[in-house]
Amino acid sequence: MSVPGNLLYTEEHEWVLVEEGTVLVGITDHAQGELGDIVDVQLFEVGVEFQKGQSIGTIDAVKATADLYAPVSGVIQEVNSDLPDGPDTLNQDPYGRGWIYRIRLTDPAEIDELMSPEDYEEHIDI
């Protein structure tokens, strides 16, 4: 399972790429591996505001349905519109073409609460 060193992570297996004033969010390689074949995603629309920890989408895999939890508080600025028609992208390229949201931060200090790659590796017990 790959854990890129340039990303931050949550206990619920989301990754966060910090940009200028925004973050890109997706699910980790570990998460997609545990879920198995992903067959559908239901996502929020651009402009929706939410708090850290809230469910901001659901991911349907063959074995189970999982919530996507907001890693930080913010407003959805962009949604990966390729996902509803190609949800298996989340399996194939979770850190690349499988990005889910671009989020404008409402509380940038929350970035400091995310896990480092090392801590996440420990969390998933590699």
Binding site: D37, V39, D40, Q42, T58, D60, K63, T65
Partner: protein, 367 residues
């Protein structure tokens, strides 16, 4: 207690299996993608290790009458070498387990039961058994390989030491493959043509090693329990613990076709079944498809005008149809094809419609 390994455990690991604990056994849930394994079985075929299933042998002059008194189907109507799908029921009308009954001869039967119910079934049979019947739990002696799919079926025909091409669906024969003694049964849980091969544990690895190169050469391979679940769902085959349990009767479960109330012999559960038939059922197990987005899962509420009309018992993605399907007990007025309702997915609702089953029409039916 830690989970028990099947005789093929190391071979699963060598094939890259992801293993899970299931009913006390370490079982392969998938080797790669569940969807690809599912579609491979529908297109060509594959092999499942289902050695966790239990095998009970019932013998003696009273065996037939005993089995007719504890199962809902008609055991006396079985010919030598024939198999019957059936169920054990409690006097209160719940299902103890569903099972296969194989008749070896006049006084000798093999029952195949769910791993998760093996101890319960055994205790239940012991509690009801009478004179002239011997019960043996030989589950720990046997492994079970299910070869399912049209090409897997052909492969068994080619490799078996006997000519089995005239063996009909739901019949079996005691024979061998590559000199390995087997019970070869034309049964399965996928809807496809195929065989289930009962083999002694000590020869199971050898059988796997003989079959696997031939399967690979035919573009086939091992299939995990994940695909087994989605394959059975497309056929609307009931899964114990999901769709049937101690609180459901065979009539409610749409298993009237195995419920032989007029077999001329009383059996456990008969009175409740007769009463349900006379008074009319309150609910029935139906198949549904999800109309919007989302996948319904076991235990979720079915709603109409905001009121509960039943519960989802199984739900998942159908790889063949490319949409979400499921099974649910619905209150009888609503358990009719075409009825639309909602499923509470947990915070969100999706629309669903009762549809005819099986969900998928197979190109080459199992018969």
């Amino acid at each position: 207690m830690s989970a028990q390994a099947t005789a093929l455990h190391d071979r699963h690991l060598a094939c890259g299996a992801k293993m899970v604990d299931f009913a006390g056994y370490r079982m392969p849930i998938q080797y790669g993608s569940i969807i690809e394994e599912h579609l491979l079985v529908r297109r060509l075929g594959g092999v499942f290790d289902v050695s966790h299933m239990g095998e009970f042998f019932v013998e003696g002059p009273g065996a037939e009458a005993f089995l007719d008194s504890v199962t809902v189907n008609h055991v006396a109507s079985l010919a030598h070498g024939q198999v019957q799908y059936s169920a054990f029921m409690t006097p209160e009308g719940g299902i103890v387990d569903d099972l296969l009954v194989h008749r070896m001869d006049d006084t000798h039967f093999m029952l195949v039961v769910n791993a998760s119910n093996r101890d319960k079934d055994w205790a239940w049979l012991q509690a009801h058994v009478g004179e002239g019947v011997t019960l043996k739990d030989r589950s720990d002696e046997f492994s079970l390989l299910a070869l399912q799919g049209r090409e897997a079926y052909q492969l068994v025909l080619r490799m078996a030491d006997q000519d089995l091409k005239d063996l009909p669906y739901y019949w079996f024969r005691e024979g061998s493959l590559g000199g390995i003694p087997l019970i070869l049964a034309r049964t399965g849980y996928t809807g496809e043509r195929g065989f289930e091969l009962y083999v002694k544990n000590e020869r199971a690895g050898e059988l796997w090693d003989l079959l696997m190169p031939a399967l690979r050469e035919g573009g086939m391979g091992p299939i995990g329990l994940g695909a087994r679940d989605s394959l059975r769902l497309e056929m609307k085959y009931a899964l114990y613990g999901n769709d049937i349990d101690g609180g459901t009767s065979t009539l409610e479960a749409d298993l009237g076709w195995i419920t032989k109330m007029k077999k001329g012999r009383p059996f456990l559960g008969l009175e409740v079944l007769q009463r349900q038939k006379a008074q009319g059922l309150q609910r029935k197990l139906v198949g549904f498809e999800v109309l919007g987005r989302g996948i319904a899962r076991h235990g979720q509420d079915c709603l109409m005008d905001g009121l509960s009309i039943g519960q989802v018992t199984s739900g998942g993605h159908s790889p063949v149809l490319g949409k979400a399907i499921g099974m649910a007990y619905l209150a009888l007025p609503h358990a009719v094809n075409g009825v639309e309702f909602e499923v509470d997915l947990g915070g969100r609702r999706c629309a669903a419609r009762v549809v005819p089953t099986p969900f998928v029409q197979l190109e080459v039916p199992c018969r």
